[in-house]
Amino acid sequence: MFWLALLFVSGVRGHGQAPTASPRVMVQERGLPPIEWGIIADLSRAPDTPETRRRLSIHRESAILDRVGASGTRYVPGRVIVKFRNGVSNVSRVTALSAISRTASMFERPSYANFDVVRIELNEDAEAVARALGQRPDVEYAQAAYRVRTQLVPNDKFYSMQWNLPLIDLERAWDIQPGAGSAITVAVVDTGVAYTSATARFHAFPFRDDRGVLYPSLGDLTLSFVAATELGPPSRFVAPHDFIWDDNLPLDLDGHGTHVSGTIGQLTNNGTNGAGDTRNGGGTAGVAFNVKLMPVKVISSDWDDIFGSPNEGTDDIVARGIRYAVDNGAKVLNMSIGRTGEPAPVMEDAIKYAVGKGAFVVIAAGNDFEAGNRTEVIAEIASRVQGAVSVASIDQSRKHAFYSSTGSWVELAAPGGSFRGFPASGGILQQTLDLDLVETFNLPPSRYTAPRFDVLAYFYFIGTSQATPHVAGLGAMLMQQGVTDPAAIEAALEKFATPCSESLNTCNETVGPNRNNSYGFGLVEARNTLRGLGLAK
């Protein structure tokens, strides 16, 4: 038995699949001052644009390719996520694994996880192994490591251009609570955040694009990173962590997490002497502009992949990120991420853990309306957990945004913007990285150069990713108001939402109060939610 146990422990590092040592080298924790541009009207980051499809398909030449599961969901081969029932001994675990797969072995349990990751051969069907494991009485659940992606749809200053904030009556809400969430920490569970200056060295591996064109290695790159000026000083960021690179430096190599963070808590009312982008009159506003932000990186961007990050944005990584965030004091979790396909019990477990610890979890409802409108797995979990909400998107005219997934899992709607029938200003404006200098992989190989993460600009993005942070910010403000129970926050947001009509395809107060598949309980209403009710009115 002892030897069997020893085999289990030693098996933790077996099969030559030990994680690659992180090739990222921190050169210094500071960098050059940022370069800031104004607004860049770029419509490329929208659902189902050629650029978006291309970004999704970029893969490092030497990378293990994702496999597509039976339901069409992409997963990372070579591993299965499993949670054994309480009390199951190590010996029984080894026995269970060996009964299912000759090659299966278990890694040491990762941090912030109540589950294990089992390594299997790359050519084994991870879904089949998970199914077999899941049928055992000693296993609570098992699943493949499905890929999770951002729910943004970006494109690309200034408050008068932020139609989205007055639309949810935020100005009058700020009158009620000028503090705007100063006692609350919001975790941005995303692609990282441009929250600090740093210089880091990476190795850029060759990769192939969606047409199979090979892009050469750029060799070793020393890159400067800057903090987004409009997100505030370093003291605003608490407990940053990177689960993609396994360190405490969740730098944003994509721009998504930084943009989302802006909507949650961009410095506001800092136009003349503020700490932010004074050159441009203070830049944009955010919903809960005094909250603390916790960058938790769980989604790997194209550059993370090209640089050979040790981890990818899969269910287990996201689940660990959720647990990390609540264990480190986050009271609101913004998850502008999602995926379709197979269930995600590991994520469900983590979301319930977060809510149980008193955190309000906000999840994007999905951007797949015109791409099959399949069930969004993470958002669907939110619809079954009181204290977690899924958020659909509306455009500037309060109508259902063309890309916003619909289904019984949709609980609330918020402005996510649209470029269809609207100019670029139909999107949600925030400061982020200059995508033209980040997404050099969208250029032909002859013009392909190293990316720059030290240039900031204002971009309009669209997507349920952009709708979600409005609700996260509101949740933080409500929490500051004294409503700390996540289920009560959800109930308040739903109760005071402006009803929307699926048949009229718009949100206004003259339509019925019924929940529907496009808008859930309706469009969030900031002022009424914070103000609550009187006895008679």
Binding site: I176, Q481, A487, A488, G532, G534, L535, A536
Partner: protein, 217 residues
């Protein structure tokens, strides 16, 4: 309101009316007709329990008032005015639980009631006199919150009715103390909006324990 209390106090301190007919024996017996001012302290368990608990953390609230009673032999008629005013917070209800949102709300209830009743007088020397009564009232309700626009506050008045049962103890020739229980039912104010609608509570009335100090014979 202050004017009403002033009038009642003036009446209380006034000498007995000429119309009051003295009984034989140097004033030991009650007159056949008397006009008796009183002051009133009430503790009311409001029927809209959840509604008041949401805003004030409790549903038993004090009312203070005054009135005037006209007693004719065993019958009496009285008019009274009282007031409840308290500042709590705006709130909402979710899954049967109340949640305050920290925004100050001040509610004021001003009942104006007319009661008719019967006193169970069996002997002229009886010190404890039970009584029963019923009546109608006009109930003012005002609700003012911070951050409200004018049309978001409430200022209304509706009718209600009530029944009352209690007893009066004569503690002095000129002073009586009454204690009673009053059941009030008031509709038309609560239940159409706010927390009361969510709580399914439409009655602004309740069960009140009242103590009256009456001056006069």
């Amino acid at each position: 309101m202050k004017r009403i209390v002033g009038v009642v106090l003036a009446l209380a301190l006034a000498p007995p009316l000429a119309a009051q007919t003295r009984a034989r024996g140097g004033g030991g017996q009650a007159p056949r007709i008397s006009l008796r001012p009183f002051v009133l302290a009430t503790g009311e368990r409001l029927a809209a329990k959840n509604t008041f608990e949401a805003a004030f953390g409790q549903s038993v609230e004090p009312f203070w008032g005054a009135g005037l009673q006209l007693a004719v032999r065993r019958l009496f008629v009285e008019v009274s005015a009282s007031r409840f005013k308290k500042t709590g917070q705006r709130a909402f209800r979710a899954n049967g639980t109340n949640f305050g949102v920290g925004i100050p709300l001040t509610a004021t209830i001003t009942p104006f009631e007319v009661t008719g009743g019967y006193r169970f007088i069996r002997s002229t020397s009886q010190r404890l006199v039970p009584y029963l009564g019923a009546g109608v009232g006009s109930y003012g309700y005002k609700e003012v919150s911070d951050f409200s626009e004018s049309n978001e506050n409430v200022d209304t008045r509706h009718a209600g009715y009530f029944g009352v049962a209690g007893a009066e103890l004569r503690v002095h020739r000129w002073v009586g103390v009454g204690a009673d229980v009053q059941f009030t039912h008031i509709t038309g104010i609560l239940g159409q909006g706010g927390v009361s609608k969510d709580a399914g509570e439409s009655d602004l009335g309740g069960i009140a324990a009242r103590v009256k100090i009456m001056v006069g014979r």
